[in-house]
């Protein structure tokens, strides 16, 4: 077997032959599975060391600072120094805390993000597992993250932590609705929930061109699920100190930190897989290893967008956050699913080339987007006119009443 066309398979065969020489076949099989799990998990745990450095440098550049540049070349070893600092810090469990739950929460947070990587394909023959329900699997392990944050906030026995946990439920559970609806669209287009099948179907045309609205909604809601700016209400420093992880010290805090950074990169990876063709690119048929480079490039591009959004947008207010979800994202994602399903079924008998199918689907998406935006702008204009009529008709000292009806944006 050629090492360059199928490196994982080559290593696997090598290991299999080696182990089979002195172990029964069943034990070898089990050992190989365990090795696979360790490889995928280690990748996911080592990656944040560099993600944290990259993000700190990038955000610093965007904010006209230098960022960490002292430890190692260009500050590359800064995260390792930080990790050592976290490890030798005192590990505190607060007096009134619920010990077991308090200690389980950070582990659960890392597990929920790490297990997502089990189904993400890096190349045609490099993937943890090709589940036929991978899309559903991602949603299901993602919901464990919500649980971890809630438990951490509750078990800390701290009112700020509990407030953070309450905000978490309001935000993460709400944004799961449009997130799941937008995952349905690529599943519909690929006729499969398996990640490899979804990537396979994007051979000719990426799903971003067939479902731009779903891609945008998926990206927005995924960023909200990571709990980063502008959706960082659950750990808003200026309002509730640090939110759910206020009492955590040392490596337990570090685990929440790692989970957040890895989740942000996972958003990029999932967006790349579901909408930007995953490992597809020129030349992958001959050299499947190239797929890893394409996939990582696309994933890092998505991650860069997440960083850019985090570094430039102010925090969204809580009522705006809920309004955006329930009054805009949920109806639009519902409409996108319905329209995609109907149009895709309607043009099926035409037996179009993928490019023709993309044109029809893109057109229907443009119509949905245009209707949604014009409805929103009409509603906003009506609100503004009501507001102006109220202000114009009333004396200045009544401005407070108008202010109550439509509060000014937070500073």
């Amino acid at each position: 077997m050629d090492f360059f066309s199928d490196p994982i398979g080559a290593v696997r065969t090598l290991l299999e032959n080696l182990l089979n020489s002195f172990l029964p076949a069943a034990v070898t099989e089990a050992l190989l599975v365990i090795v696979g799990v360790i490889v995928v998990a280690s990748f996911g745990l080592i990656l944040p060391l560099f993600l944290i450095w990259a993000e700190r440098r990038l955000v610093a550049r965007m904010q006209d600072r230098v960022g960490p540049n002292r430890v190692g070349p260009e500050g590359l070893l800064q995260t390792i120094a930080d990790a050592i600092k976290l490890l030798i810090k005192e590990d505190i469990t607060p007096l009134g805390a619920d010990k077991v739950v308090y200690n389980i929460a950070p582990i659960l947070a890392v597990i929920s993000v790490l297990t997502m990587w089990a189904v993400i394909p890096f190349a045609i023959n490099i993937a943890g597992a090709d589940l036929n329900v991978a899309a559903l699997y991602i949603v299901s392990v993602g919901s464990l993250g919500t649980l971890a944050i809630m438990l951490g906030g509750w078990a800390s026995n701290n009112k700020y932590a509990l407030l953070g946990a309450f905000r978490t439920v309001a935000q993460l559970v709400c944004y799961e609705v449009p997130l799941i609806l937008s995952i349905i669209v690529p599943v519909l287009l690929a006729r499969s929930m398996s990640m490899q099948a979804i990537v396979d179907q994007q051979k000719d045309v990426w799903f971003i061109f067939m479902a731009p609205i779903a891609a945008l909604i998926f990206f927005i809601t995924s960023v909200a699920e990571t709990g980063r700016a502008p959706f960082d209400l659950l750990e808003a420093e200026s309002e509730i100190v640090a939110g759910f992880h206020i009492e955590y010290t040392g490596m337990k805090f570090g685990m929440f930190f790692v989970a957040e950074f890895l989740h942000a990169f996972t958003v990029g990876a999932l967006t790349a897989t579901l909408f930007f063709g995953g490992w597809q690119g020129p030349g992958v048929e001959q050299y499947p290893v190239l797929g890893v480079a394409y996939f990582m490039a696309k994933a890092f591009l998505g991650y860069f967008l997440v960083i850019l959004i985090r570094a430039t947008l102010p925090r969204i207010r809580i009522d705006h956050m809920l309004d955006l979800n329930w009054k805009f994202l949920v109806p639009v994602s519902l409409a996108a699913v319905l329209v995609t399903a109907l149009v895709d079924k309607a043009i099926e008998p035409l037996n179009l080339l993928p490019i023709g199918r993309a044109i029809f689907l893109f057109g229907s998406n443009v119509v949905v987007g245009w209707i949604a935006l014009s409805l929103v702008s009409r509603a906003a204009r009506r609100l503004r006119q009501e507001d102006e009529a109220k202000r114009g008709g009333e004396a200045p000292h009544d401005a407070e009443a108008a202010h109550d009806a439509h509060p000014a944006p937070a500073h």
Binding site: V133, Y137, W154
Partner: protein
Amino acid sequence: MDGLQIAFLVTAAVILAAALQVVTARNLVHAALWLIVALFGMAVLFVLLEAGFLAAVQVVVYIGAISILIIFAIMLTRRVMQDTGPQTNSQWWLAALIALGTFAAIFLTLSQVRFPQANAPVPESSLATLGFDLVSPDHYVVPLVVVGVLLAAGMIGSIAIAKDKE
């Protein structure tokens, strides 16, 4: 005894122990967490039966939605943590008797049933079959639509109840 049976027995033991903790734990949040362990054990059983779809749905629906709802309801309930009264009342022996009787009845009934066993492996495309069955007029399209209408009615009803009176 092969690996599958060992895995089943371990999972079943974990589910039973967690279920026992759900009803005996003094702390309500702990009870909810034990419930999550029991439900996760059910998902593992589905995986052992090669029903990956049901396992994922089990985790999404029961752990991702219902358990979080339960925990949230507990957290929002006032002074639920200070409740230190006895866990049982004077009728506990009656309840135990009825529970034991029910268990005995179910056990006796099930032990007499001969479950048919198929030798064929689980079909690869069971998920697609399930999907087609749900929308085929010969199978389950009517139950599916009825469930959809019921859920929509429930949702509209809860919105109507929770809406501000203007």
